[in-house]
């Protein structure tokens, strides 16, 4: 090829009658529509040589992308993302590697996160500026157990009154760690990521921003871990924490809203008994999260009780959930 434009050999403009190999460039540049893409991928499946070319041209396109000047994202983007992933399970590895009909790693996962649905990941108490943040949408529901830790707390109300699990739950404050099962995070290629988030407490926007920053910090910590269980009402609850930071946050799905005279209250439960760690409320749907006040000590469990509005000095009711860190 010279630097002068060579005569164009194909003047018909007639797409599918042509050699499918001609689509290699347009494919690598994402310049094909869905039908054309499918047509080209059928061709790729048949031709090793075409797969090599497609891979090389795709990498060439990446070089163009890497030459674009970076743009620093807003801090809100990271906080929203970190909150969002807390409630988004990671997909399991594919059991059997797909046959190499596609050379493009980004293409086979089209279904995952392309929903345009608006997200419910904004902390309560902040005004939502035309909330972008696509939610995980339907993805999380698909694999509910894959990201759940095995340490399910026996739920109150199940089984007969006075069952061992209920008795155990009543003793929760005295014996925080006795029956709670710690769960390790099983996170694929990322050692530490985690967390979710929508609602909080009725704080100011400033408080919410601080909460979001703390949550991002916990998620980003090298020793970030998570454990999940169910609340007494069957909602999924997740604790994320970093021992290094001494911080933790709880995330609950679809936690029922309380009346004005009640709040949810968080507790750190260690050897010295429960220590109040802040209150919050829920609007009844979506993901609620709250970074706990105070400092977490190694081995602390985290519990949530329903308390009179404003919170109590000591728990006055059974926990709706407790999670061992």
């Amino acid at each position: 090829m010279s630097n002068t434009d060579k005569p164009d050999t194909n003047l018909t403009g007639n797409a599918s009658a042509d050699n499918p190999a001609d689509l290699a460039g347009a494919y690598a540049l994402n310049a094909l529509n869905a039908d054309e893409t499918a047509e080209y991928e059928r061709y790729l499946a048949r031709s090793e040589q075409a797969r090599i070319e497609a891979a090389e041209l795709s990498d060439t396109a990446v070089a163009l992308g890497l030459a674009v000047a970076p743009v620093q994202p807003s801090s809100a983007l990271k906080a929203n993302l970190m909150a969002q992933i807390a409630s988004t399970p990671q997909l399991a590895p594919l059991a059997a590697p797909a046959t190499p009909t596609t050379v493009d790693p980004a293409r086979p996962v089209e279904t995952a996160a392309t929903t345009d649905a608006p997200a419910a990941v904004t902390p309560i108490g902040t005004t939502t500026p035309s909330g972008p943040a696509a939610t995980a949408g339907d993805a999380p529901a698909a694999t509910p157990s894959s990201a759940s830790a095995p340490g399910a707390l026996p739920s109150a109300g199940s089984g007969s009154a006075g069952s061992a699990s209920e008795r155990a739950q009543r003793r929760w404050f005295q014996r925080p760690a006795g029956y709670l099962v710690a769960a390790a995070a099983a996170v694929a290629i990322f050692a530490g990521g985690t967390f979710t988030g929508q609602a909080l407490f009725g704080g100011s926007a400033d408080q919410s921003a601080k909460q979001a920053a703390s949550l991002a910090e916990i998620n980003a910590a090298a020793d970030s871990q998570r454990a999940s269980t169910e609340t007494a009402g069957g909602q999924e609850a997740t604790l994320v924490w970093s021992g290094e930071l001494g911080l933790s946050a709880i995330i609950v799905e679809d936690l029922p809203a309380l009346g004005d005279d009640e709040d949810y209250q968080l507790w750190y439960i260690g050897e010295g008994g429960p220590v109040a760690a802040g209150t919050f409320d829920s609007d009844g749907s979506g993901t609620v999260w709250r970074v706990l006040d105070g400092t977490m000590s190694a081995g602390d469990a985290v519990g949530v009780t329903v308390e009179p509005a404003g919170g109590s000095d000591q728990p006055t009711s059974d926990p709706i959930v407790a999670i061992q860190s």
């Binding site: 090829m1 434009d5 060579k6 164009d8 194909n10 003047l11 018909t12 007639n14 042509d18 001609d22 290699a24 460039g25 347009a26 994402n30 310049a31 094909l32 529509n33 090389e56 041209l57 990498d59 060439t60 396109a61 990446v62 070089a63 163009l64 890497l66 030459a67 674009v68 000047a69 970076p70 743009v71 620093q72 994202p73 983007l77 992933i85 988004t88 990671q90 997909l91 050379v103 493009d104 790693p105 980004a106 086979p108 995952a112 996160a113 392309t114 345009d116 035309s130 972008p132 943040a133 696509a134 694929a188 290629i189 990322f190 050692a191 530490g192 998620n219 980003a220 910590a221 970030s224």
Partner: protein, 165 residues
């Protein structure tokens, strides 16, 4: 590497590319968040793929930016904005870091080895997000010609940049 670290390292690259294509900043952040959510969800399926994580991520980033253009009002909003800038110029940012500057110069040099028509077609597709049919309409040339230019142009770039399997 923790997910947060990965994000810190590559999010500016992702947003830079997405914004280059979409123009609109708010939409670009939105798409960037979707991309990282997808990375999070599908990370376990990444492992055996060729190329580094950044290749995987940037490939996905470009595709999601294009998806956004093709799927919504975003495309029409963008058309309005894009009309006021020079379509043929592939870069309009000043590179901020040494690393990016070097890559930028390398790519710019490689781009200079294309014919003007190849460069135009590649730029319109990759940076402006035109489909090959839109490139054909825009340049008033047959689709087959566009296909040839895109393929020959990328092959030339591949050779200039030393990209090989």
């Amino acid at each position: 590497m923790a997910f947060g670290e990965l994000y810190d390292q590559i999010a500016p690259r992702v947003l830079g590319l997405v914004k280059r294509v979409l123009i609109d900043h708010a939409q670009s952040e939105e798409v960037t968040q979707e991309i990282f959510l997808e990375i999070w969800q599908t990370a376990s399926r990444y492992e055996s793929q060729r190329g580094g994580a950044s290749t995987w991520i940037m490939t996905m980033a470009h595709r999601r930016a294009i998806d956004r253009i093709r799927s919504s009002q975003a495309g029409r909003d963008r058309d309005t904005k894009i009309g006021i800038r020079d379509l043929a110029v592939p870069y309009d940012h000043v590179a901020e870091t040494v690393e990016v500057k070097i890559e930028h110069e390398r790519v710019e040099k490689a781009m200079s080895r294309l014919t003007e028509l190849q460069r135009q077609a590649v730029s319109l597709s990759y940076f402006s997000g035109f489909s090959h049919r839109e490139v054909a309409d825009h340049l008033h040339i047959p689709l087959g010609t566009v296909k040839t230019r895109l393929r020959d142009g990328l092959i030339r770039l591949r050779d200039e940049l030393g990209v090989a399997s």
